[in-house]
């Protein structure tokens, strides 16, 4: 079979160009919203004032198996005084049938409680917070419908993620490596009028999802991808969609997802082209990489299809594989 490649000069020039753009762009973001962070995907999010509105957050606590206390399993009371967690836990969902007496052991155990909560943010986004005081630096798998990604709690056992909602009734499940699961859900009315597509994979595949809004080309402001990600607020200001990269790429074998959201009420008539791209690197060249595509069904829900992409051979390192038809373009009627 034929192997066509480009002159390296052209590619390198383009890479340099787009990197320059991203860097400048990040600086601009940083200057507007405070200092950036190490991780690009979170940088623009963490600098933003986080929405504090709470609607219908629920928690479902589980008792983590903590050695030493196993002899005395107590049904945990969920009075706010006991669950003195940073997360906005709305009590009432947990089991309250047996109020246990207040004791030192239970306090210790109660503060070990892992709690997740979800609140709606702007443009069908969600702020997902997890507090697991006894599980610092713990690897967790977060699932939201068909979407799954790997995260890690910080040194205090906390984690907060700004992510897009795939459905109006949004449920989240956070699974720790020891098997415990905490869940959270919320209602995101804006999700009904937001189109989302996603690509998800595991490990270092080099895959990226790119969106080109209404005729935008590379490096223009309508070219949205994880390295030039925009928070929902900024995306809203420029009347466009936003890309969210979910998952910790620095963790081995982590599940990663690129999610592109477009609020339909912004829609001018036209098309947003969606492509899947992969830089050919020493790590992925000549290999087949697996991923899943998530695309909206008519009405609600997403169709999930497994895809396998053949990355070009290693003499094409530095080139980009660009696939236009892995995901459908979004076609928008004028609003």
């Amino acid at each position: 079979m034929q192997v066509k490649r480009l002159t390296m000069a052209g590619s390198v020039f383009l890479v340099a160009l787009s990197t320059g753009y991203v860097m400048q762009h990040q600086d601009a973001l940083a200057s507007r919203f405070g200092s950036g962070e190490k991780r690009t995907a979170m940088a623009s999010v963490s600098g933003l004032p986080l929405p504090m509105r709470k609607t219908q957050t629920e928690t479902a606590p589980v008792s983590p198996p903590s050695p030493g206390n196993s002899a005395h399993v107590v049904d945990l009371p969920t009075e706010p005084a006991v669950v003195s967690l940073a997360a906005p836990a709305r009590h009432g969902q947990a089991n309250r049938t047996q109020e246990a007496p207040f004791a030192g052991a239970t306090i210790a155990q109660a503060t070990c409680l892992a709690v997740a909560s979800a609140e709606p943010g702007p443009d069908a986004s969600i702020l997902l917070t997890l507090s697991a005081p006894c599980q610092p630096h713990a690897r967790v798998e977060i699932t939201h419908g068909p979407l799954a990604f790997t995260e890690q709690t910080d040194e205090d056992g906390d984690l907060s993620i700004h992510m897009p909602a795939l459905s109006e009734r949004a449920t989240f499940s956070v699974q720790f490596e020891n098997g415990t699961v905490v869940e959270a859900d919320t209602t995101v009315p804006a999700a009904r009028s937001t189109q989302t597509v996603a690509l998800q994979w595991r490990g270092d595949t080099g895959l990226e999802l790119h969106a080109f809004e209404f005729g935008a080309t590379y490096s223009q402001s309508g070219h949205v991808h994880a390295r030039a990600t925009l928070s929902p607020t900024v995306a809203g200001l420029r009347k466009g969609g936003y890309m969210t990269r979910l998952g910790r790429e620095d963790l081995p074998g982590a599940a990663i997802a690129d999610v592109y959201s477009y609020p339909l009420d912004l829609a001018q008539g036209g098309a947003v082209r969606i492509s899947v791209e992969a830089e050919v690197t020493a790590a992925n060249c000549g290999q087949e990489v697996s991923a899943e595509t998530l695309q909206p069904l008519l009405g609600s829900g997403h169709e999930v299809v497994e895809v396998v992409l053949a990355i070009p051979t290693c003499d094409a390192i530095g080139d980009f594989l660009v696939l236009n038809n892995v995901l459908r373009d979004m076609k928008m009627a004028a609003n």
Partner: protein, 520 residues
């Protein structure tokens, strides 16, 4: 500026087309009671049937009745159906893959798309229970012509076509033993589409007369100043001429207007790259598909008599828009593997129509419009009335229309013949299925025949009546098990009374010659 699309030209050497052919080797097929045995070379096995070359000639043997012995026997438990689909990108990029994945999911199978590059990929359907692949659909995207060539050279099982098969392709396929591709059963309409002229998103232009379009494509008009716009060269864009779209355009508009496209036209591999090029370019005029308008501005067609024809979902379904180009799937006469046959019959289900809509194409589910929604048509009828169509004729027509809804299903004919065009053949099948299923029970369906305005009105009325009768016969033939005591099928004819387009062009007359379905 360096185009990034060039960077896409990176392909992986991945052998996708493993093919399903079994190495020709000696086998013995023995009937289960041991009474009969056939010896020969195995030509193929499709999961159900053996094709074996014997001293009696090539025989097809039902696998259920025999046991196979010999080195050439296929492994029955690991048989995977390989189905090769070749042809137009317009269908292979999004529509067909979506349909196969939709079919798989509906059947409880797990689809998996294995991609080598934009034009070469396959979709595996896995039975999650048994954990094994049941079918592999191999895609090779190119052009309609290449699809037919692949079918003739036995490198394809299904052809994706954006135009009808040409006589020379029919001949080549017949010589190759594929059968008669021009027979009605060899083609099915998967979705509706149309040719649409487009200009830059910011252009003030909203419509063009087809004869002006033809003059532009022939080079007679080459500056926007001729259209009372800012002066500048008109730059023309087409999808690769071989995709069939431009051909359809030439057939329908240019040649009939006595023109042929001889000016310099920029060709694009896909409609998406065409519209992405045209959308920001104020000098560009392109010809794209309705399913891929992207960010360009579509132009309506203004006929000399003042009627405006716009490509919309409704006008595609009723074929009232003159540049309809349905998306077709051609099948060879030979028996296809079971998953392919099941997929093809699934294509006529409502679930398949939903996938068509979701993929951004126009499905064939009929819509219906009340009389009050047909104001434009009635206005046309009044305007066209005069010497040949009297007020009494119009009143009779409106009396008949009152209380009815027009189904978008409309029957049209190939130029100068009484033979239905492909979309209309598909309409006969669909309406016949609905009649047999009792969808229209308790209703009265009126097949209303219309003609163009050429020639004397009485003759046109007769022609219109003949056409309505022909469609009624075709429907009765195609729907033999319909309970006719529950549904009434009538015909009526109104001649040239309600023109949709102008009669001064061939495509206009073709649009006007039709049989509509009114339902009450």
């Amino acid at each position: 500026m360096i185009s990034r699309s060039k960077r896409a030209a990176v392909f992986a050497a991945l052998l996708l087309f493993t093919g399903s052919s079994v190495a020709a080797q000696d086998i013995v097929l023995e009937s289960r009671d041991g009474a009969l045995a056939l010896e020969g070379m195995l030509l193929g096995y499709d999961g159900e049937f053996y094709r074996i070359s014997t001293e009696y000639g090539v025989l097809t043997v039902d696998g259920q009745g025999v046991t196979c012995d010999g080195p050439g026997c296929p492994d029955l438990t690991t048989y995977v159906a390989d189905i090769r689909i070749s042809g137009a990108r317009a269908m292979g990029e999004v529509l067909l893959p979506s349909l196969i994945e939709g079919y798989g999911l509906q059947e409880g199978l797990r689809p998996r798309r294995v991609i080598a590059d934009n034009d070469t990929f396959r979709i595996d359907l896995t039975d999650p229970g048994a954990g094994r692949v049941l079918a592999r659909f191999h895609f090779a995207l190119s052009t309609t012509s290449d699809g037919f060539a692949d079918l003739a050279s036995d490198s394809a099982d299904l052809v994706m076509a954006v135009r009808e098969v040409r006589p020379e392709e029919v001949a080549r396929a017949r010589d190759a033993g594929v059968g008669d591709l021009s027979a009605p059963r060899r083609t099915r309409t998967v979705a509706l589409d149309a040719l649409v002229p487009v200009v830059a998103a910011a252009s003030p232009l909203t419509s063009l007369a087809p004869d002006v379009l033809a003059a532009i494509w022939s080079g007679e008009i080459d500056d926007w100043a001729a259209l009372e716009l800012e002066a500048g060269p008109i730059e023309l864009h087409e999808i690769d001429s071989d995709t069939g779209f431009a051909e359809g355009f030439a057939d329908r508009l240019l040649e009939q207007a006595g023109q042929t496209g001889t000016v310099s036209v920029r060709h694009h591999g896909t409609a998406a790259t065409l519209v992405d090029t045209v959308a920001p370019d104020p000098w560009a005029l392109g010809l794209t598909r309705f399913s891929e308008i992207g960010n360009a501005r579509p132009l309506a067609l203004t006929a000399p008599c003042g009627r405006i024809l716009r490509a919309t979902t409704a006008s595609l379904k009723s074929e009232d828009y003159p540049l309809a180009t349905p998306l077709l799937l051609y099948t060879p006469e030979r028996r296809l593997p079971l998953p392919a046959r099941e997929f093809l019959s699934w294509l006529t289900t409502p679930a398949a129509e939903r996938v068509v809509r979701r993929a951004g194409f126009v499905d064939q589910v009929p819509d219906s419009t009340t009389l009050s929604g047909q104001g434009d048509r009635l206005a046309n009828a009044v305007l066209a009335a005069g010497e040949e169509v009297s007020l009494a004729d119009l009143q009779e027509m409106v009396r008949q229309m009152t209380g009815t809804r027009r189904l978008s299903t409309t029957f049209r004919f190939r130029n100068g013949t009484a033979q239905l065009d492909p979309q209309s053949e598909s309409n006969v099948d669909r309406l016949a299925r609905d009649l047999e299923a009792g969808v229209h029970d308790g209703r009265e369906l009126v097949l209303a025949g219309f003609s163009d305005g050429e020639g004397p009105a009485p003759a046109n009325l007769r022609l219109a009546a003949d056409r309505a009768e022909a469609v009624a016969r075709a429907l009765r033939e195609a729907a033999p098990v319909t309970d006719w005591s529950r549904v009434t099928l009538m015909t009526a004819a109104f001649g040239e009374a309600m023109p949709l387009a102008c009669d001064d062009t061939e495509w206009g007359r073709r649009t006007n010659r039709r049989v509509e379905v009114w339902m009450r």
